[in-house]
Symmetry: C2
Subunit: 207 residues, 2 copies
């Protein structure tokens, strides 16, 4: 056996020990229930991770609802794609877009608040429907941050949802109370962004 | 005007100023080219963010290739879903799965290395094809970490790819040289995970 091979084998033995600890944790993790996921932070991937899980859920035959709380633009690839999926598999996915953009773009906080509250009424319908396996509240944290919605009734509606329903909430600056209530929280941390190197927001990648 | 409204308006004025700085940066970011994205870190969302961008790219009519460098399981929702999409829209997406699992599961590093090298040959075919708008190398960092592939030829192939082609690489522990070469890097940072609260890996959410 070469020295390199010996080192490789020791590394594998270490990995196997680590794996057995993970296996024990997996054996212990047996509860089956809906999971509340939050994707927050200043980096990329908060919304796209949610849209990837939409593909995953549809692949398992689950019904999905997406509510976008801030309409950045009307021609996103994800919306176009999933609307075509909805045409091919009627009832598989429902897609709702609310509002006109971020409040510092619209300069009309009363209209933004009204749009967010209307979207929340739609959201509550899905949170009350056990046939919906996954609900995505995209860019939802802004509705809380700007006070368009109160946190307490949101937490109550999330807590009362069907037992096996997953919810993914995206957006920067998720409030502490929402993080406390969540099961899985990821902070998408910006390391670097092509934008800073002068690259345009590219279709198919950024929107 | 109420005190609350005055505070709200000052907040909006501040947001508008911030927005104008962002607008200037957007005006300056005019280069159109393919972007090399890395999703790394110990949190959730690295692969699912890539699969969400796949939906986005398909929505813009781009052709997509996905190469999974580590086969965790054979029944993932994302693979099932996108294989059905490929049937409905022939030529839109190609999906390849390599290997048998992580090396500490297979206990056979020679076989894992051979599988990774075979997958890399497939990957190079897509990196040479300007018709492919987006290529995803899922769980690719492990192939570098375990030395199944050398970093230098990988960087060379990435650098020589078609000018408008986007590449997304996912996996924990992306090596420094890959991060240096990338345009956009996000560290998916674990804040908390349902797994630790005893919840099973749920179909449609985790796989």
């Amino acid at each position: 056996m070469s020295q390199e091979q010996g080192k490789d084998d020791r590394h594998h033995a270490l990995m196997a020990r680590k794996k057995s600890v993970v296996d024990e944790k997996i054996a212990a993790a047996q509860e089956e229930r809906g999971v509340l996921v939050i994707n927050t932070g200043n980096g990329k991937g908060k919304s796209s991770a949610a849209f990837g899980v939409v593909a995953r859920a549809l692949g398992h035959g689950m019904k999905v609802a997406v509510i976008q709380f801030v309409k950045g633009r009307s021609d996103t690839g994800e919306e176009g794609f999933y609307r075509r999926v909805a045409e091919m598999f009627p009832g598989s996915i429902s897609w709702h877009v609310s509002g006109e953009g971020f409040t510092w773009e619209t300069q009309d906080s009363a209209r933004d608040a009204a749009a967010a509250r209307a979207a929340w009424v739609i959201a509550c319908g899905y949170l009350a429907n056990p046939e919906i396996g996954l609900v995505v509240f995209d860019e939802f944290t802004y509705a809380l941050k700007y006070g368009w919605l109160d946190v307490a009734p949101v937490l109550a509606a999330l807590a009362a949802r069907p037992r096996l329903q997953h919810v993914i909430i995206t957006g920067r600056g998720a409030p502490e109370a929402l993080i406390d209530a969540a099961d899985t929280v990821t902070d998408m941390t910006l390391v670097k962004h092509a934008f800073k190197a002068g690259v345009k927001a590219m279709p198919g990648l950024e929107w």
